[in-house]
């Protein structure tokens, strides 16, 4: 009798409890809407005591100083006189900042809708000296968009947070996130982008400019600051560097991401291709050509007659290709594809011919010898996998690299064997 009773109990218990328990855990981008008053935002640009990197964005180099953007928060000024031990000097609080350009002693930065010029003659006490108001209308930070509401003088912003959520699933399907409709409009999401302008680099004339990474949206050329937004290029006249003047706006089309000035030309990376503008007259860039390719995110760098364009597929950019394109731009009116190479998730890149440094996002940094243009993939010199690489600036013997986990400096005198000089990890206390 006893065993039968036992059996009955066991069976009953089994039948009650046979539920599969499946929990899906995911780290999801969560948006929350906030409104800032412009009146208040415009009082907030000021120097503060140095602080640690939290969410580093773009970087900019001029002389011995590094300028590292803290996405949407401001700019770290770092004394890099000794690359082995960079020192944080000051943090400039700039709400809504994503891009940087420096001409002489003036730093240009975006602050949501405004372009701010900041005197950094004394890097320990930078101060705001000029402001062009309401030039940028919308922008993106880390997938969250902001827009300018001129009628009430406010910025409608979306804060982006990564939250971990766990939900019960049915152990079978590929269950979509609960808020799957939440962000499709932000398909173009990059880490930081503006509806009008950003800054970049190399060419100089008159004053001395710094050097930006390839992800830059600001560029300096002669007496102009070029800032590309998602659909436009803004030109600011900087005859008087401290007081930039809104000069003109050129419509470019959709999905503009980066600008790279080279040899009196502007190479503009967009989500659909690469635009080449003739900039012989810096006040009036003229479109020479539009190299169309698949839809993807794509910074550009140029060396002599070859443009190196990366296409990045992925969550934020749409498109389905991850590749490096070499484009012959010897005739800028008719750029021709040389060859495409498959990559993993290319972000920023930098060239120190014949060495090409290419950031692969979470896949690290790749180094190529590009002297043989048809066999770049066979000339991969190195692949550093243990870091996140977002953008890179090659300064000849030194390589600056920024990623989600921190800011790195390498001795690149031997590109096959980069030697780490210093690392500023994210979150490290100053």
């Amino acid at each position: 009798m006893k065993p039968k009773l036992l059996l009955l109990c066991v069976v009953a218990w089994l039948c009650w409890s046979c539920n599969d328990q499946c929990k899906e855990t995911r780290v999801v981008r969560r948006f929350s809407n906030v409104t800032y008053s412009l009146m208040e935002l415009r009082t907030q640009v000021k120097a503060e005591s140095p602080r640690s990197l939290v969410q580093p964005g773009k970087m900019y180099v001029k002389g011995k100083y590094l300028y590292v953007n803290e996405i949407k928060k401001g700019i770290h000024i770092i004394d890099n006189g000794n690359p082995a031990s960079p020192k944080f000097i000051t943090f400039i609080n700039i709400p809504g900042n994503g891009d940087i350009a420096v001409r002489d002693n003036i730093l240009y930065a975006d602050s949501f809708c405004d372009l701010v010029s900041i005197d950094i003659a004394n890097p320990t006490a930078p101060k705001e000296v000029g402001r062009v108001k309401n030039v940028f209308k919308t922008g993106l930070f880390d997938g969250g968009g902001w827009s300018l509401n001129e009628s009430i003088g406010a910025i409608s912003d979306q804060n982006v947070e990564w939250v971990e959520e766990t939900i019960a699933v049915n152990c079978e399907d590929n269950v979509p996130p609960t808020s799957w409709w939440g962000g499709i409009i932000w398909m173009m999401a990059d880490r930081a982008s503006f509806s009008s302008g950003s800054s970049a680099s190399p060419q100089s004339s008159g004053g001395s400019n710094g050097q930006a990474g390839s992800m830059a949206r600001f560029a300096l050329d002669r007496n102009f600051l070029y800032a590309v937004s998602q659909s436009q290029m803004h030109l600011f006249k900087i005859d008087k560097p401290a007081q930039p003047v809104d000069f003109t706006t050129i419509n470019l089309g959709w999905g503009i991401e980066t600008i790279f000035p080279y040899n009196n030309k502007l190479f503009i990376g967009s989500a659909t291709g690469m635009f080449i503008y003739d900039n012989t007259n810096p006040a009036e860039p003229k479109q020479l050509s539009n190299f169309q390719h698949a839809r993807a995110c794509d910074p550009v760098v140029v060396h002599e007659d070859i443009a190196y364009v990366t296409l990045r597929a992925g969550t934020a950019c749409g498109g389905g290709q991850n590749q490096l394109d070499l484009v012959d731009v010897s005739n800028p009116s008719a750029p021709q594809l040389i060859k495409s190479y498959q990559m993993e998730n290319p972000h920023g890149l930098s060239i120190d011919f014949p060495t090409l440094f290419l950031c692969e996002g979470e896949h690290g940094l790749k180094v190529f010898d590009v002297s043989e243009r048809f066999s770049v993939d066979k000339n991969q010199l190195a692949h550093f996998e243990d870091m996140h690489a977002y953008d890179v600036i090659s300064l000849g013997k030194t390589l600056l690299l920024i990623g989600e986990d921190g800011f790195y400096q390498y001795d690149s005198s031997n590109p096959k064997n980069l030697r780490l000089l210093s690392k500023i990890p994210v979150g490290k206390a100053i």
Partner: protein, 192 residues
């Protein structure tokens, strides 16, 4: 986890080697049947309403061991379970113990514990399925003359863990699923 599985195997092997004297009698118990269960979840397609689905999966397993004494045999159980989204191969240490019964009908206890591998599972791109710990205790009835082949009917509880790394969706950085299959296993088999 894998270590535990190996430990179980080792234990089973040691138990088998512990035989002294006359050569041990080999025991095989091969079964097939169903794994029955339910799942309760929030269905995102219907506004996250809670939904309960019934689940059935096919299972086969074979226990090979040695008779340790009149009632107890111990060995290794190899199986294959076709869950809807995972094909798992449990490798377990197992034992069968005759509890009570008349001559031709025996009530027996069964216990298998080990680790399941996803060797034969084929993942879609971006997904990575891994197995996990498995424990499977229960009771059964054996019909047949002692010492010769017998039919068995076993009712057991099976708990199987699994872990799936999934491709993140567009607004996600990371996505994975921890599964625990809690199933009622009803198996028919033969043993000799």
């Amino acid at each position: 986890m894998k270590k535990i599985a190996y430990l179980c195997l080792l234990l089973a092997a040691t138990a088998a080697n512990a035989q002294t004297g006359k050569s041990p009698r080999f025991v095989n118990h091969t079964e097939f049947g169903g794994l029955f269960g339910r799942v309760k979840y929030d269905n995102p397609y219907t506004g996250n309403q809670e939904q309960v689905d019934s689940k059935t999966s096919l299972t086969i397993q074979t226990f090979n061991g040695v008779q340790l004494n009149r009632r107890l045999s111990a060995g290794v159980t190899l199986g294959m379970d076709w869950y809807k989204a995972a094909l798992l191969n449990p490798i377990a240490g197992g034992m069968r113990y005759d509890l009570v019964g008349r001559k031709n009908v025996q009530l027996f206890g069964t216990l298998d514990a080990g680790y399941a591998f996803a060797w034969f599972h084929d993942d879609s791109e971006g997904f990575d399925t891994k197995g996990g710990l498995m424990v499977n205790p229960g009771l059964g009835i054996k019909v047949g003359k002692p010492g010769s082949a017998a039919f068995t009917l076993a009712l057991t509880y099976k708990r199987q863990e699994a872990h799936v790394t999934k491709a993140p969706l567009w607004d996600q950085k990371e996505r994975f699923e921890d599964r625990v299959y809690n199933r009622l296993a009803l198996r028919l088999g033969i043993s000799f």
